[in-house]
């Protein structure tokens, strides 16, 4: 690991100024986990930056090669712990592809609903913590109020509040209760009102716009070069959403929804405000999808019949490889699985969106002020569990 380049400015006999090396993290309130950023500071201006990751490395991928296919599901929950359902979905789809099975219709629709609910929950955290990064503490509590409802909703079918282990190869783990869809629809109505509240509180705040507009600009080319995905890519004006372009679950094809992209409303295209606003609008699109999905959930099996037998013995997919990618709240999550016919895969790799999105940070930070640096880190919305895996 190369050391950060430092330089000395204006050296005289005894009075001189030099660049200050500042460690942002790994224990810092606004690095969203255990990210360490080494900063070279010239006063308030950042002159150099280098990310240091790996503090939360838990060998998730290696574990995947040592446990059975079903057992790895809960591990994927703990990668991007804010969007557990979406992670499970990607893993389950990869395993299903290996097995050559498809989840029944009811399970597909349920997957869409829980994943979109989880996307809202994840974006709510992004919204709330971004407020805290900007010094506004209150939006966080507003966001948590709605997230609490979502967690309670997801707890009913899955039995857990955060790391659901609900979606599994072949379908979903449990069926929903009778009132669940009604309650989800009720939440949608409630959420629309709350969403307007968030916007009056934070989105349209002059100070907030002043802090985020024209900061951390990622151009279209830059976003594509760095392989960014998710809201970070869309905020730069690239209309790319796997749900629309490569529907990994066919119900997405039957739903009507927009793919919000950045427009440079208050500044330049691809600035922090655009990334924030794309996430905010995505929540509304998720609500739209959930509304449509709730009306379309058919009756039937929630798990593939042929799989039920398989659950009793360890899954043994035929030899082969599979790669499935899904649109996570943070971007494109891909799982690459290679089977040789055994109980566990011999290769298991994840393409984590946070990891790829973080790569742009080193290029964005130099030239910004310290406060902007925090705004940029927050706008990338990383989860360190997924970066380090």
């Amino acid at each position: 690991m190369e050391a950060l380049e430092m330089y000395t400015v204006d050296r005289r006999d005894d009075v001189y100024t030099e660049e200050l090396k500042l460690n942002l993290g790994p224990q810092h309130p606004s690095t969203h986990g255990v990210l360490r950023v080494e900063l070279g500071m010239d006063g308030e201006i950042i002159t150099a930056a280098r990310c240091d990751i790996g503090y939360l490395h838990r060998c998730a991928e290696k574990i995947g090669e040592n446990v059975s296919y079903l057992q790895f599901g809960p591990y994927t929950d703990r990668m991007d712990y804010l969007a557990a359902c979406n992670n499970e979905l990607a893993w389950s789809l990869a395993v299903e592809k290996l097995l050559g099975v498809e989840a029944p219709e009811r399970a597909q629709w349920l997957r869409v609903i829980v994943c979109e609910l989880n996307r809202i929950a994840s974006h709510l955290i992004a919204f709330g913590t971004y407020g805290i990064d900007m010094g506004a503490n209150t939006p966080f509590f507003y966001a948590f109020r709605e997230r609490e409802t979502i967690m309670a909703l997801l707890e009913r079918p899955s039995g857990q509040r955060m790391l659901y282990n609900y979606i599994r190869p072949g379908g979903v783990a449990h069926d929903i209760d009778e009132m669940w869809l009604t309650d989800v629809l009720g939440f949608c109505d409630e959420f629309e009102k709350r969403w307007a509240e968030y916007n009056t509180l934070l989105t349209t705040n002059r100070i907030f716009i002043g802090r985020t507009a024209n900061i951390g600009i990622i151009s279209k080319e830059m976003a594509l070069d760095y392989g960014l995905t998710g809201p970070v890519l869309r905020a730069s004006g690239v209309k790319w959403d796997l749900r629309r372009d490569v529907p990994y679950l066919w119900p997405y094809d039957e739903c009507e929804f927009e793919v919000p992209i950045g427009e440079g409303t208050h500044g330049t295209l691809g600035d922090c405000w655009d990334r924030y606003w794309v996430r905010m609008r995505e929540m509304m699109e998720s609500i739209r999808i959930i509304r449509q999905a709730c009306h379309k959930v058919p009756s039937g099996d929630f798990t593939e019949k042929s799989m039920l037998k398989m659950y009793k013995t360890p899954l043994k997919p035929p030899a082969g490889e599979a790669y499935m990618r899904c649109e996570n709240p943070r971007g494109e999550l891909g799982f690459y699985v290679v089977s040789e016919g055994g109980q566990s895969p011999i290769r298991c790799r994840a393409r984590a969106p946070s990891f790829c999105n973080l790569s742009v940070l080193d290029a964005l930070l130099p030239g910004c002020m310290l406060g902007d640096g925090v705004a940029i880190i927050g706008s990338l919305d990383i989860v360190l569990g997924e970066v380090d895996r």
Binding site: G131, I207, G210, M369, V374
Partner: protein, 355 residues
């Protein structure tokens, strides 16, 4: 003060310098007590205000009714904490910085008129004195940041220096506007003028602007959000007091709330009638009643402005360093000058609404 001295002389039979010493000791002791109790209440209030704005209850357990004893418990905890001084710090400066910070604000209290006769010294230059003595706080903060030998602390200290020095100018300029009308720096005169004529805020159209400028500048002076850059949590962990803990830390805390009180009390005294009420003549009541009522009125007004400060803190995001500077120099200062010139012209023409 004279009343107190007379009473001490009658009670203890002392005279001259000894009486003065005893009288000052009594005053300072009661002020310290007042500030401590006030700060505890204000911290509890801040937590409650924040909680209710955030759909929470805040402290509910300690002491029974709505956790009223939470601040006392916190203060006790801070008192009993181990006294940590970082190994590589400048120990003397680290040790003295909280005291310096607190002294500046504490000294400001002696010139505040709480009610008729409830004022430790009615200085001729009372207003000037408060503004001047409050600046000492900056020195303490810089000392704290420097002595901690921590980069975050240093950042906080430098931000504080830049910010507070910049915002003292618009604050002082804005205060010139009521001074122009009353023609005195003595805070007692402001009360007398407003008792006779009505609240100064209604005197001219420039008054509300001046009041607003002073309010914003005093937010920055007290390091309150959206100007809490010196201790910006999401950027600098805790800013200049990152390395402080226990009682030393609580002094910084005390200072913040004390300076909120001073600026709010000034706001109430200069623009909103001080301890007087419009249409009600409380000074004609018997002395103890007038004193009690006056203090109550001033406290209510002061706490209203303290509440406003809390309200803003829990609503607004934080500004960036350059934005803070730009706001001070590009907006507040020119508007302040405009107000002074406008108010002077207004007064010279004799167009004042009140007198």
């Amino acid at each position: 003060m004279e009343v107190l001295m007379a009473q001490i002389e009658a009670l203890l039979g002392t005279s001259g310098a000894l009486t003065l010493t005893i009288a000052y000791s009594v005053c300072i002791g009661s002020l310290l007590g007042f500030i401590t109790v006030y700060a505890m209440f204000a911290i509890w209030m801040e937590r409650k205000v924040a909680a209710h704005m955030q759909q929470r209850y805040g402290p509910m357990e300690v002491g029974g009714w709505h956790g009223w004893a939470q601040s006392i418990a916190d203060a006790l905890k801070l008192l009993f904490k181990e006294d940590l001084i970082p190994r590589d710090s400048n120990k003397f400066m680290f040790w003295i910085a909280p005291a310096v910070v607190f002294c500046g604000v504490f000294a400001g209290f002696i010139a505040i008129p709480f009610a008729i006769g409830v004022q430790i010294v009615d200085l001729d230059l009372g207003l000037f004195f408060i503004i001047a003595i409050a600046s000492i706080e900056v020195v303490g903060v810089i000392m704290a940041g420097w002595a901690s030998n921590s980069k975050y602390s240093l950042f906080g200290a430098i931000r504080e220096a830049a910010q507070v020095v910049s915002y003292e100018v618009p604050a002082a300029i804005a205060l010139l506007v009521p001074i122009l009308v009353v023609g005195s720096f003595r805070l007692g005169d402001f009360n007398a003028w407003q008792e006779a004529n009505g609240w100064l805020i209604f005197q001219s159209p420039f008054m509300p602007i001046a009041a607003l400028i002073f309010f914003i500048a005093s937010l920055a002076g007290a390091k309150r959000a959206p100007f809490d850059l010196p201790e910006a949590e999401s950027e600098l962990v805790s800013g200049f007091h990152t390395e402080y803990s226990g009682m030393r830390f609580s002094f910084f805390f005390l200072e913040e709330y004390a300076s909120m009180f001073v600026s709010s009390a000034l706001m109430a005294t200069l623009f909103f009638g001080g301890f007087t009420l419009p249409f009600v003549d409380i000074s004609s009541a018997p002395a103890p009643i007038a004193m009690g009522l006056g203090m109550l009125i001033l406290l209510v007004k002061t706490f209203f402005f303290i509440f406003c400060q809390m309200w803003l803190r829990w609503t607004l995001p934080r500004l960036r360093v350059d934005q803070v500077m730009a706001m001070g120099y590009k907006y507040l200062l020119p508007w302040g000058f405009l107000c002074v010139v406008g108010a002077a012209w207004f007064e010279a023409k004799g167009w004042g609404f009140l007198a």
